[in-house]
């Protein structure tokens, strides 16, 4: 059944206007876990970084794993949205905002981890470039300073990329609500009326932003990879790291987007908008990324094995045959063996199939980040620098809380902003090829 513009508007405004009791319960439950994570962090701040498992020689553990993982997740949104906007893919309309939101929240969560990892977060301002009496100045040769600039550029860009197309929907909310909410949205919509001039300028701005945000997104994860590749640590100092990280980031990002869409679909009753066609197309993208990820993994491992440098091969076998072997093979299973048939066979590439594949990919990609960081640090060149790492309850609690923080932020966002862009879907109704909302159901 083809929906009218009025019905589309009513459907998509409903999640903002109404708050079902189960949404409130979910928010309370998630907030409690986030609070537990925050308490664990405060405990670490009060007691000292010693309560975390990181110690010589493994100074990067769960926190930096989470940092890399969440920055990777952030790649889904803005990058996919920008590519789909530029290619004018009609099926993008219901999913662009869901994707863009992931980027902003994942970046915020990811950017918190260097602060948590510092142990003394009140000194975080030392990272910012400013002259001071101690003669300390951020070293512009350090990839950590490049991170500072890259992540902030990406965060600002993604925020603007998310907010620009939201302005017309804020205007819709202004006209459809009353009381303080009307005033609230009247401020947010910045006086938007919807003149042809405004629509055209928005179109131009979004086009330019889409072009700009793609190289920024690629640069962010490239620079995150250089945090590792610029150091002569076994299996880090590799030219393949930048593209490998970018591919892994897009891979995990698409998986996170599919998971978010499945929950939004069922909890906000958006079945007719986030339809099987969206999942089928995203499933195909996920399949391509899975193959690319496996290709990079193979290329990295093959060249290390063939080069046969003692320190490098030691880490290679440590992950594949040694104490990390279980994690390694679970990672390969989660990122390639399990999702491949689910995504390659058309009959299995359903909403459930893509969801299951995505869940395993997210798990697999978190493990991959862990396996990049910890084994290399625990087996450096000489035996005096060998060691082990075991996460503590503080790190595990904070890690768990970030996943709940992501879900909580997403839920809260869906209460303030329509998670599916109303004007874009309405405009799509006038495009002949996408006139039917449920053409693929």
């Amino acid at each position: 059944m083809v929906k009218t513009a009025d019905e589309v508007q009513r459907d998509l405004l409903r999640p903002v206007v109404e708050t079902p009791r189960r949404a409130v319960s979910a928010m309370v439950g998630l907030a409690l876990v986030v609070l537990a994570g925050f308490s664990a962090w405060m405990y670490q701040v009060y007691t000292g970084i010693g309560v975390a498992g990181i110690d010589r020689p493994v100074f990067w553990g769960f926190y930096i794993t989470n940092f890399v993982f969440w920055i990777g997740i952030s790649h889904a949104g803005t990058l996919i949205s920008a590519i789909l906007r530029l290619s004018n893919a009609t099926w993008r309309r219901p999913i662009t905002r869901c994707a863009e939101v992931i980027t902003v929240f994942a970046l915020l969560i990811g950017a918190m981890f260097p602060l948590i990892h510092l142990g003394r977060p009140w000194l975080a301002f030392w990272l910012a470039p400013y002259p001071n009496q101690r003669g300390l100045w951020p070293n512009y040769r350090s990839p950590l300073v490049w991170d500072f600039f890259a992540i902030n550029t990406y965060l600002i860009g993604s925020l603007i990329f998310l907010l620009l197309p939201t302005i017309p929907d804020f205007a819709l909310l202004r006209d459809n609500l009353s009381g303080w909410r009307r005033k609230f949205y009247a401020v947010l919509c910045l006086g938007w009326r919807g003149t042809q001039r405004q629509w055209r300028q928005l179109e131009s701005a979004m086009h330019i932003m889409a072009i700009l945000i793609i190289p920024v997104a690629v640069s962010v994860h490239t620079i995150v990879s250089w945090d590792f590749a610029m150091t002569p640590v076994p299996m880090w100092h590799s030219t393949i790291f930048a593209p490998y990280f970018v591919v892994g980031a897009i891979f995990s990002g698409i998986a996170a987007l599919i998971i978010a869409m499945v929950f939004l679909r069922s909890s906000l009753h958006l079945e007719e908008y986030l339809n099987p066609r969206c999942f089928d197309n995203l499933g195909k993208l996920l399949l391509v990324m899975s193959l690319l990820w496996f290709y990079f993994l193979f290329a990295e491992r093959l060249t290390t094995w063939y080069g046969n440098t003692r320190s490098e091969v030691a880490v290679l076998w440590l992950t594949m045959r040694g104490p990390y072997r279980d994690l390694f093979w679970v990672m390969v299973g989660c990122n390639f063996v399990f999702p491949f048939p689910l995504l390659a066979i058309k009959k299995l590439r359903t909403i459930t199939g893509t969801f299951l594949a995505s869940v395993t990919v997210v798990i697999g990609m978190w493990i991959e980040r862990y396996l990049i960081i910890v084994p290399s640090l625990s087996r450096k060149f000489l035996p005096y620098a060998w060691g082990t790492y075991r996460p503590t309850w503080v790190e595990i609690t904070i890690t768990g809380a970030t996943f709940c923080a992501m879900a909580l932020l997403y839920l809260l966002f869906s209460k303030v902003v329509p998670v599916v862009s109303i004007w874009e879907v309405k405009a799509g109704l006038r495009v002949p090829s996408s006139a039917s909302m449920d053409e693929s159901s």
């Binding site: 513009a5 009025d6 508007q9 470039p129 002259p131 003669g135 100045w137 070293n139 512009y140 040769r141 300073v145 490049w146 600039f149 890259a150 902030n152 550029t153 600002i156 860009g157 603007i160 620009l164 302005i167 017309p168 205007a171 819709l172 202004r174 006209d175 459809n176 910045l190 006086g191 938007w192 009326r193 919807g194 003149t195 042809q196 001039r197 405004q198 629509w199 055209r200 300028q201 928005l202 179109e203 131009s204 701005a205 330019i208 932003m209 700009l212 945000i213 190289p215 920024v216 640069s219 620079i223 004007w423 309405k426 405009a427 006038r430 495009v431």
Partner: protein
């Protein structure tokens, strides 16, 4: 003499919008003074002329400014607070290039959004006509400057198309 008060008609679909625009044009209203307001972009229709804003060029200027600022930030501070580099150059283009690139992109992004706010224009203090019916799917067509002599005739013509607001 032009009246301060404009005339607007609420159309229920793009086809009647086109009729309203044509009626205004045939009444002698210049295309540049016709205003069309809708809750969606109406991508297939080009009802009115909008001033050209060279947004990509301005974004490029923003990128140049941002990049220059980035390079100066990195290179000048490296010179002002030199760190021991073991004989290597204090200012290095390889690494400063990364800061330059990131701030160039930031400059372009910020410029694009500022140009959009100004060119749209948003945050305008002018009280411009608007009807909340637009958010219910109506398309508002009209002009702010109607010659007094034509007002009655235009009202009659537009009434045949939709609900007229003066």
């Amino acid at each position: 003499m032009n009246s301060e008060n404009g005339i607007y008609v609420l159309c229920s679909e793009p086809d009647s919008t086109e009729k309203a625009v044509n009626a205004l044009l045939s009444a002698g209203v210049p295309r540049s003074e016709i205003v069309v307001i809708s809750s969606e972009p109406l991508e297939q229709y080009r009802f009115v002329d909008t001033p050209k804003v060279r947004m990509p060029w301005l974004a490029a200027c923003g990128a140049i400014l941002g990049g220059t600022a980035g390079f100066l930030l990195a290179s000048l501070t490296q010179k002002s607070y030199p760190i021991p580099t073991g004989g290597m150059p204090v200012v290095t283009l390889w690494t400063d290039g990364i800061i330059t690139y990131e701030l160039a992109m930031l400059g372009a992004i910020v410029t694009t959004s500022v140009v959009f706010l100004v060119a749209a224009p948003l945050l305008s203090r002018n009280r411009l006509p608007y009807d909340p019916q637009v958010s219910k799917g109506k398309v508002m067509v009209g002009t702010n400057s109607v010659p007094d002599a034509l007002r009655n005739r235009m009202t009659e013509i537009l009434k045949a198309i939709g609900e007229v607001r003066l």
